[in-house]
């Protein structure tokens, strides 16, 4: 198990390397002088052209590309992300402020989606071809067909504007900062984010369960005299979860994509909105570093789910 873990971590490194190179290339697209986003803007304003040239020399900007990359990446590893070209703020500080909000949104979305998706899929497969099953599958297709932003707009129109139950957007009211104050701001975004995920997860769980329930070892388990519920859970769901886990890994990026859209609709101050704002004013350094942080996050969480799958499946663990 530990060996498998290290192997997966090792495989992660070249992926991160590729991403960092892509980010580096993306940054070189920034028009104008790269020094603009490498040092704080107020400091830059004070510098004379001669001082700028020495600084450029010392930052290695006149070196060849590979050397520049190495210098840049070592800076990034130390947390030196440079500065926004628009506001001049430190990108690291910007990300540190926005990341927790996105993590909170994604985490609750994931938790709710998993609970509902797995349960509904399980019920559907147990009651295969019943009315419950048909309703679930039809709702599942509808859930994957309605665009998130439209769902979000409808929710705001109904629950916030018409009924006035929940706030239209934002993360927290001024002066109220505890988690419980934030819950009412989380309900709608989390729900809209989770719907598509629930639908997908439900469909895959159902399919995987139906597949497993046809296996010989299910019949063998029944022949042991254990109860139907235990056959379905301990042998059925336990095995069905393995492919579902793999789907889960593949869908994490989709969840993040959804978060970008949801954050914009609900005016939620997370990474997604930051990226979009940065794109609309061509603040490429902010775009690139936010992307890098998100990609790293996704890779790490994929690794965690992979580990979970390995825990569930001895065949992965031992190979």
């Amino acid at each position: 198990m530990l060996g498998y873990f290290f192997k997966r971590v090792l495989l992660l490194i070249p992926k991160l390397l590729i991403i960092s190179i892509l980010i580096f290339i993306g940054l070189s697209f920034v028009p104008g002088d790269p020094i603009d986003h490498l040092i704080p803007p107020d400091q830059r304003a004070k510098l004379s052209p001669v001082q700028l040239e020495t600084l450029r020399e010392s930052l290695g900007l006149n070196e060849k590309l590979p050397v520049r990359y190495l210098r840049w990446i070592s800076g990034v590893l130390k947390g030196d992300f440079g500065y926004s070209m628009v506001s001049g703020a430190s990108i690291r500080v910007m990300i540190a402020r926005r990341l927790p909000a996105t993590l909170e949104l994604a985490f609750f979305g994931l938790v709710i989606a998993n609970i509902l998706g797995l349960t509904l899929g399980y019920i559907s497969s147990i009651k295969h071809n019943s009315i419950i099953d048909y309703t679930n599958t039809t709702l599942g297709i509808i859930g994957t067909s309605v665009p998130e932003f439209f769902l979000g707009l409808c929710c705001i129109a109904i629950f916030s504007l018409h009924l006035g139950w929940l706030p239209t957007g934002g993360r927290v009211a001024v002066g109220k900062e505890t988690f419980f104050d934030r819950i009412e701001y989380l309900v709608l975004p989390v729900l809209c984010l989770a719907i598509g995920y629930i639908a997908t997860l439900m469909r895959y769980t159902r399919g995987s369960m139906l597949d497993v329930l046809n296996k010989d070892y299910i019949k063998a388990a029944r022949s042991k005299g254990i109860s139907e519920f235990r056959v379905n859970c301990n042998h059925g769901l336990r095995n069905a979860l393995i492919p579902v886990m793999i789907i889960l890994v593949n869908r994490i990026p989709v969840l993040v994509s959804g978060a970008v859209i949801i954050e914009n609709i609900f005016n939620y101050p997370g990474m997604g909105r930051m990226i979009l704002d940065a794109i609309s004013c061509s603040d490429i350094p902010v775009v690139m570093f936010s992307t890098m942080v998100i990609a790293t996050m996704i890779l790490v969480s994929s690794l965690l789910v992979d580990m979970l799958a390995a825990l569930l499946d001895p065949r992965i663990r031992f190979n």
Partner: protein, 338 residues
Amino acid sequence: MNKDIVLSIDGLKTQFKVGKRIVHAVNDVSLSVKRGKTLGIVGESGCGKSVTAHSVVQLLPKTGNICKGTIKYSPEVGKEYVLSDYKRDSKEIRSIRGKHISMIFQDPLSSLDPVYTIGKQIEEILFEHEKISKNEARKRIIDLLAKLGIPKPEERYNHYPHQFSGGMKQRVMIAIAMVCNPKLLIADEPTTALDVTIQAQILSLMRDIQKDYGTSIILITHNMGIVAEACDEVAVMYMGRIVEYGPLEKVFNNPLHPYTSALLRSVPVLGIDKNTELRSIRGNTPDGSDVFQGCEFSPRCDQICQHCKDGHPPVRVVEEGHEVRCWLYEGSGGSDHK
């Protein structure tokens, strides 16, 4: 019920719903298994032999159900359970499954749950039916594994199915089936998926078990050779009906039904004259949903007579304990079964 009999099936009829059609998989099957003896059920695939066995413990898919007939099980003289009265997945039938009547399946590769150690999978059945401590269970399982010829049982106890070979997996399946000392073991094509040498090992293992524990066995197979080797009695099935039924020697030495003789002729025997034709049965097994006017075997039969299209032949007892279902034996001096 006769005190020598552990299981008796009388007039069993099992049907499946396939879409809107109803398929009669098993039709009017009656048979009995004697204590400590082996009954072979033989026939081509799709003849209803597995369905008959699965009906015994109500282990049918959701689309199938028993619609007629009784299945009686007697673990010991004087005790009797009517299995066909129990509801599917009811507590009563579950307490029979695994504890009194256990099963071995055709494909050991897919019959073991890949995510649990074999120790856990054997334990599961023990904990379900007996009050036993974890240590005791472990000891008993390791003893059983050793007895069944699995080397290093203490180590193997914690191994996963994918770490076993096919023959070893079937031994594990037998361990699961035997751990509660059942009175009846249903082996559904236990050797079909195995290599020939392993087949012989598994068959002799099953014989040893029968000797040691006095377990009765229903052996389902399509292989006449295995029947000859392992069974005391044999029931030949065709299209959901038993066409011939009797003690092994009688059926093999004096096959009455044309289908049985055809099956026996199609088995190659060592030392057979190379010029003797190895005969196959012409035609294919018909679809189970087709409704037949006469005897189901008549389209493929060599000895067809004028009665064959009239209706289903009744069961005839031709000699002591040897029954056949064929028009050829009408009026041949035997007596009516019913």
